[in-house]
Symmetry: C2
């Protein structure tokens, strides 16, 4: 059994990828909706939340955990956090994929303001190769666009917002862009329209691959059950998650860190 957590629905992109890779693995998904969004909190607060989220997943039977949230992943790395079970995150595998994908050595990064400010993807890329040049742009309106379902390629609103955010990458001339927030793959169509020919790195998928490698064959072989747990307002989560997953799910409320 494995655990996957995010502050809300963003990590569902990673969960979808994990389920496709390991259809028989039992999964507990935790959305820490009582404390969403993590991106505006201080590192000290986020560190406390990560410890409490992982403690819950471990108690629920997880053999390994994926932090399916770039903000939490960056805090996990910068604070050098340690746990009893294997913990994977979305930054390292995304940076490795981007470094392998780029041909011209120019990699763009988009994320929440917190993720761009803490430079986690850039630092990791620099560790991997000193030949890669990066530019990072915060896209704070992408998360509310996804949460409110404004993701259609033909809709002028997400297109105009994407045009403004992504213009620097045209000047920069990157051939690879890291979608450094697990919400962003839902805007892939809109993003590709602005940056045709650029390889998009889905950080949720990258994180799911890292999780796959962290799990033993035994841990991956279960009944393929999925439990959706949230720390507040399960009905609201169920509605948004059902829309994102394209299937009806029902979340249960759990106590985190109390």
């Amino acid at each position: 059994m494995t655990g996957i957590f995010d502050s809300g629905v963003g990590g569902l992109s990673a969960m979808k990828a994990a389920r496709a890779m390991m259809p028989r693995c039992d999964i507990v998904y935790l959305g820490d909706t009582a404390r969403v969004p993590y991106g505006t909190r201080s590192n000290a607060q986020i560190k406390k939340y990560i410890a409490e989220d992982i403690a819950f997943l471990e108690k629920s039977g997880a053999d390994a955990v994926l932090i399916a949230c770039a903000t939490a992943s960056s805090v996990y790395i910068s604070e050098k956090m340690q746990f009893d079970i294997p913990v994977t995150e979305v930054i390292t595998p995304s940076a490795l994929l981007a470094a392998a994908a780029t041909k011209n050595g120019r990699v763009g990064i988009i994320g929440t303001t917190a993720t761009v400010e803490n430079r986690a993807f850039e630092n990791k890329l620099r560790q991997i190769s000193d030949k890669i040049v990066t530019t990072a742009v915060p896209c704070p309106l992408f998360v509310p666009l996804v949460e409110n379902g404004l993701t259609d390629e033909s809709d002028p609103v997400p297109n105009e917002i994407a045009r403004r955010y992504l213009a620097p990458f045209i000047t920069f001339g990157c051939d690879t862009l890291i979608l450094g927030c697990t919400h962003f793959p839902l805007l892939s169509g809109v993003i590709s329209k602005q940056l045709p020919g650029v390889t998009l790195i889905n950080s949720g998928e990258a994180g799911a691959s890292a999780l796959f490698r962290a799990l033993s064959r035994k841990s991956r072989s279960g009944s393929g059950s999925i439990r959706y747990c949230v720390s507040d307002a399960p009905d609201k989560f169920s509605v948004t998650a059902s829309r994102i997953l394209g299937e009806k799910i029902e979340a249960e409320e759990v106590e985190i860190g109390r």
Copy 2:
């Protein structure tokens, strides 16, 4: 001395109005940024937050408190919460103003999804007059637009989003619209462009008037000091608040409910 609180920066519209009405009143403003946004939480959580926020303000010396957040105001009313000091909210005074302003008896309401779902403004209007007909529309993208500074009347993005949200009010034919979220007055220009001739009720201003009436003359006569307290990430709050207020402010971090 008085206390004003919101989950974040939204309540600053009420604080600005309170300062204009009572320039010598000492004010403690609390932004509960560790737990923003309230609009997505359950009533039980919000009730706990309100009690903790008011306890902090009372301890800081406030003689009366304004709940400058429509979501928290609606929970305060529906849960019939009681405190040792006078507590005012934004819903009752907004509904009274709207009832006085409307000539055709048709009042529109916009707010966050939580505020529209709990029908607090409608219930209050119905208590005031059974002749008023209402329509309410949730505008979930307005808060992120304000938080990210996309409030310009000439910007196609807020205009297009406002056009979609506000179209039902043209059909409905209201002459008065309650801006049922303390963030929304910052989008007044954009909203008026879609609904020319409609009277906009600023719930922050309405709340400030109610606070004025709840305070004794002595409580209103101080040195005109303002203290900005937040429960997390004071730097981020200071940047956004300075932009909204048009003057440089510095927030201090405080512990709430721990």
